[in-house]
């Protein structure tokens, strides 16, 4: 059995922290500049065709309810499950 108190992990912690710091400082230069997304093909498609295809002026609404309708269905069912579980926990009448 190795006595844990004998081995001090302080040196190991400091070295791992320094390695993490160097790694993250290099990652900063890899991030692409703010406001310039790399892939704009899908955005251009939505901006050009959303009004004509769905007939709604609000492009966000047309994406949420038409192009990505399945995600909205999941969102609504998540809220439904939350309400159902809360009414299961708190629904019974309080004993007074």
């Amino acid at each position: 059995m190795v006595d844990n108190k004998k081995y001090n992990f302080r040196k190991f912690k400091i070295i791992s922290l320094i390695i993490l710091f160097i790694y993250l400082t290099f990652v900063i230069f890899l991030i692409h500049p703010f406001g310039e997304p790399k892939a704009t093909k899908m955005d251009d498609y939505f901006i050009k065709n959303a009004q004509r295809q769905t007939g709604s002026n609000n492009v966000v609404s047309s994406i949420v309810f038409d192009y990505r309708g399945l995600d909205t269905l999941g969102e609504a069912s998540v809220l439904f499950i939350a309400v159902m579980s809360i009414s299961l926990i708190l629904g019974e009448k309080k004993n007074t």
């Binding site: 007939g55 609404s61 309810f65 309708g69 609504a76 069912s77 809220l79 309400v83 009414s87």
Partner: protein
């Protein structure tokens, strides 16, 4: 709460609910939609519960019925697209009938009679979110 707060909240309650309905109905023209408008209407329920503490009883059955109706109408509208083309197919748009006005690309005046199935889905999601959040607030405040 005091009498001043009660009267002021009664005055301000109608504009809150009407603004929530406006955000829901104009979801395909202006920023907002079903979730946001439903949250505004749930805020009105929270105001009622805070101001009229124990003097008012809101029925839970009506809210749960409305939530059920909202989610089922949303799912039925999604499945009705299978009859026409695919799941979540927008079968009403560009049909020049009800909710099917064709709009031009770019800046135009907003037509309420456009968007196909999107306003109906906004309405159902708005009803569902409003009644669901109201139900959560009622259940939590009742057991305090």
């Amino acid at each position: 709460m005091s009498k001043i707060i009660k009267i002021i909240s009664l005055i301000i309650l109608n504009p809150i609910i009407i603004f929530g309905l406006y955000v829901i109905v104009h979801g395909h023209l202006t920023p907002g939609g079903g979730f946001q408008g439903g949250a505004i209407i749930a805020g009105a329920t929270a105001l009622i519960l805070v101001v009229f503490e124990n003097n008012i009883k809101l029925s839970r059955g009506l809210f749960s019925l409305f939530e059920f109706l909202g989610l089922t109408s949303f799912i039925l509208m999604a499945f009705w697209g299978i009859v026409k083309n695919t799941f979540f197919y927008n079968f009403l748009t560009n049909s020049n009938g009800i909710l099917g006005k064709t709009i031009v690309f770019g800046i135009n005046q907003g037509y309420l009679n456009s968007g196909g199935v999107i306003p109906l889905m906004n309405l159902s999601v708005g009803i569902e979110v409003a009644s669901g959040l109201s139900l959560i607030i009622i259940l939590i405040t009742r057991n305090l």
